[in-house]
Symmetry: C2
Subunit: 97 residues, 2 copies
């Protein structure tokens, strides 16, 4: 059971790059960190943002081969903060999510 603090989660979502990452994972498909190379920042920075997202409890990562597959912890988030993630995604990408 991962500890989820509301302000930590909000702060994690309150960064454009991290919000893009969360949006990119919103369909539920696991994705490697490399899938987010298009966001305009380097690999170390992407790695840092994933760490923040993991520590906020938003994302989990498991190693597969030489990549790390990241998934949005949607059920856990919804359990702790019902409706929050959905309204954030809807606010960021109306009609799309």
């Amino acid at each position: 059971m991962i500890e989820m603090e509301l302000t930590t989660l909000l702060q994690a979502l309150g960064d454009p790059i991290r919000l893009q990452i969360v949006g990119g994972l919103a369909d539920g498909e696991p994705r490697a960190c490399g899938s987010f190379a298009h966001l305009g920042v380097g690999a170390p920075t992407i790695s840092h943002h994933f760490k923040v997202l993991r520590e906020a409890g938003l994302v989990e990562t498991h190693v597969q081969g030489r990549e790390r597959l990241n998934t949005l912890r949607r059920e856990a988030i919804d359990a702790d903060f019902p409706g929050l993630l959905d309204s954030v995604l809807e606010a960021a990408w109306p009609m799309k999510v």
Copy 2:
């Protein structure tokens, strides 16, 4: 029409003191800055947090006598980001809001 950026709003809410302030205004009643003196930080800091909340479009302030009355811009927030504020408040104070 005040410009409301999603990440700015999330970042504004992602601070414990500011979340307390927003929670304190959630009943819709206007409140003076002094009503938040119990939050453990000094008056200049409270004033700074109100500025952040104002710039995020979460709160509006108007002068009445020698105090400033602050109100949550609930309709505007709901119009731009439906359901978001409610789920944040519910996550922070379950059953209460």
